[in-house]
């Protein structure tokens, strides 16, 4: 047990203090923050704050009443008696654009927009829409008017999972997708390190020293635990970055105030994360022991990673029909279940039977692969310059003497 701890500590330190690990761990949250900041900067720097005008030939915008929620842009909406005056104001740079509501507007709902070079932003469009809408319902009693202005807000209650989905909490639908991405990065990078350390120890012949000091179980167990700890460290940094980001951004972004901690999702992911990590780690141990050079291992792993990344290629199908047979297959298939369930979570309910069967299949596959990886590792660890061929691997798995 002491040796397992020593190996785990060594691998953990050797991984988290590596430049590549620090870069990938910090680059993702920093990169995302930079992209968001850039988007905000681009969005605000070119903002046109000139008033927007309108000519109301339909004679419906005669109420000065404003909608209850503040307009996002805060841009003044100015009335003009006719197009000529409005056009002069536009050419005089007094306004950025003006809308014309023709006399048949109530029946056609068609509006004309005039601008010089750049059309007004989406926010200006939304402000004007709100303004028109508020005028159209201005004659109704307050209660009805406010309700009409709020519009529909449908909440779907899932009686199986007890979860709720509503337009106002769209962020809670998006979160699992973001979390999937981070889970995936952490798992794959940890398994990549596992491949590297095993293949590197074999290539540098350190394996021979190690195996005469500790048991193979301690060696692999220690590495797995150390790299799992590194993966969890990476995840913790992502989570802390996300929490800090939410705290900072929530006062400015209304949607973020709706964020609730998705405990059920986190519970299911925790349930799947450990066996999924074990499965990937076992595959990487087997590859690392079977190849003769780190580079060869990375090539093989690159191909096998497709088995884990396959759900990404099905994103459209998962979005359109989360219950499609191919999606259910990916939900149950051990290498894709973790990611598929995570992606499906944001879109609705994953039936309990699928979660249960999927977990059992994943755990069973992981147990088998850990067993197989141990055999391949023991047979391949000292075969310097001689990769294990498929025939030998199969004979090892059939129970022939392995060392």
């Amino acid at each position: 047990m002491h040796n397992l701890w020593l190996i785990a500590k060594h691998e953990y330190r050797g991984t988290v203090f590596k430049r590549a690990f620090i870069l990938i761990t910090l680059a993702i949250p920093l990169g995302m923050a930079a992209v968001i900041a850039l988007a905000i900067f681009v969005g605000t720097s070119g903002e046109n704050n000139l008033p927007v005008g309108y000519v109301d030939k339909a004679d419906i915008l005669n109420v000065t009443w404003q909608p209850p929620s503040p307009m996002p842009t805060g841009i003044e909406i100015r009335a003009f008696p006719d197009e000529e005056v409005a056009l002069a104001a536009l050419e005089g740079k007094e306004i950025q654009a003006f809308f014309v509501l023709p006399s048949d507007y109530p029946s056609t709902l068609q509006t004309d927009l005039y601008y010089l070079e750049e059309p007004p932003s989406n926010d200006v469009w939304r402000d004007f829409d709100n303004f028109v809408r508020a005028n159209l319902v201005a004659t109704y009693p307050d209660e009805i008017r406010n309700r009409l202005l709020e519009g529909p807000n449908i909440t779907v209650h899932d009686i199986v999972s007890k979860r709720e989905f509503s337009e106002s909490s769209i962020i809670n639908v998006i979160l699992p997708f973001v979390a999937t991405f981070f889970f995936f990065i952490a798992t794959m990078s940890a398994s990549g390190y596992m491949l590297r350390v095993v293949a590197d120890e074999k290539e540098s012949r350190t394996m021979e020293i190690m195996i005469t000091s500790v048991t193979p179980g301690q060696l692999i167990g220690g590495k797995t635990a150390g790299l799992l700890a590194a993966a969890l460290t990476q995840l913790a940094i992502y989570i802390i970055a996300a929490i800090v980001g939410l705290i900072v951004a929530a006062p400015h972004v209304e949607e973020l105030q709706q964020v609730t901690v998705p405990w059920a999702y986190l519970g299911v992911m925790a349930l799947f994360f450990f066996p999924a990590y074990g499965l990937i780690a076992a595959v990487m141990v087997a590859i690392g022991a079977a190849v003769t050079k780190v580079q060869e291992g990375q090539q093989v792993a690159g191909i096998l990673n497709l088995f884990f990344m396959a759900p990404l290629f099905l994103l459209t199908v998962i979005f359109e029909n989360p219950a499609a047979p191919v999606v259910v297959f990916f939900t149950l298939f051990p290498t894709t279940s973790f990611m598929t369930i995570s992606l499906r979570w944001g879109l609705g309910t994953v039936p309990l039977w699928q979660i249960g069967v999927s977990w059992i299949l994943l755990v069973a596959t992981t147990v088998f692969l850990v067993w197989a990886a141990a055999r391949i590792f023991r047979a391949g660890m000292l075969r310097y310059g001689q990769p294990l061929n498929l025939k030998l691997v199969l004979s090892l798995l059939k129970g022939r003497r392995w060392r």
């Binding site: 021979e208 020293i209 005469t212 500790v214």
Partner: protein, 306 residues
Amino acid sequence: MHTIEVSHVAKRFGETQAVVDVSFDVERGEIFGLLGPNGAGKTTTIRLMLDIFRPDAGTVSIFGGQLDLAKKRRIGYMPEDRGLYKDLKLEPTLIYLATLKGLDEKTARSRLGEWLERFDLAEHRQKKVQELSSGMQQKAQIITTLLHDPDLIVADEPFSALDPVNTRLVKQILEEQRQAGKSILMSTHQMYQVEALCDRIVLIDEGRVVLYGAVDEIKRSFAGNAVVIEGQGDFTHIPGVLETRKHNDTYHLALQVGTDPQAVFRTLAARENVKIERFELAEPSLDDIFVNMVQNGAAKLEARHA
């Protein structure tokens, strides 16, 4: 109780029979040479001893029983191919490997300081292993083998890549370890080192033991299989002579097993332009014995010892 008892071990890898039948034992306080040509099965035998491989047949006993984790900690193993993490710094690497052998970090650090000083590596302790020369890496590997003060040292080619000064240092250290009662199993192709250091040897060829015993006894038993000649003329291409080496004005002839030195003398005497000033039977070097045994194969040896 022997430190190592290897009894009739055999090991096959697929179609290759790496070890056919090897037996020997190693005593406490001796340096034991495990010798053999390339591909003879030496490294496989070492790996069988250290439970890296399991034998198909035969038994291995270390410190009086099967190898377990506690016994592994009493062994210092230096593989032929140096095995240190290339991209890690020297000091933490050696401390890590020592702690896996049961040493606490403080003791490991303290002992390491002494060893680094002795091997003149102290100023390189913060360098990455890959930045060290091959000789330095070899010395670092020797430190790894000795740092936890093992009772059994298994060293595969310990003098590889060492200059004469460091070779002498390592020999001195091995002598000290023997004096301290440690058992040392050494595998090397440098026969003069074996001759200088080893108490007993086992010679393996094609997976079988072809020679086993005390170095002095073996050399005595092979006396007559070498002759020393002084004179002028051509002393090569003599039937029954494996090799002719000239050292200063002396010719050293290694004879095949069964070759009569008198027949060699007659052959030379019959040659024209050959003048013999001295012809005497010599005690062969281990090198001669090695070459003789390997070139003649096991069958003749068995006949000789029958």
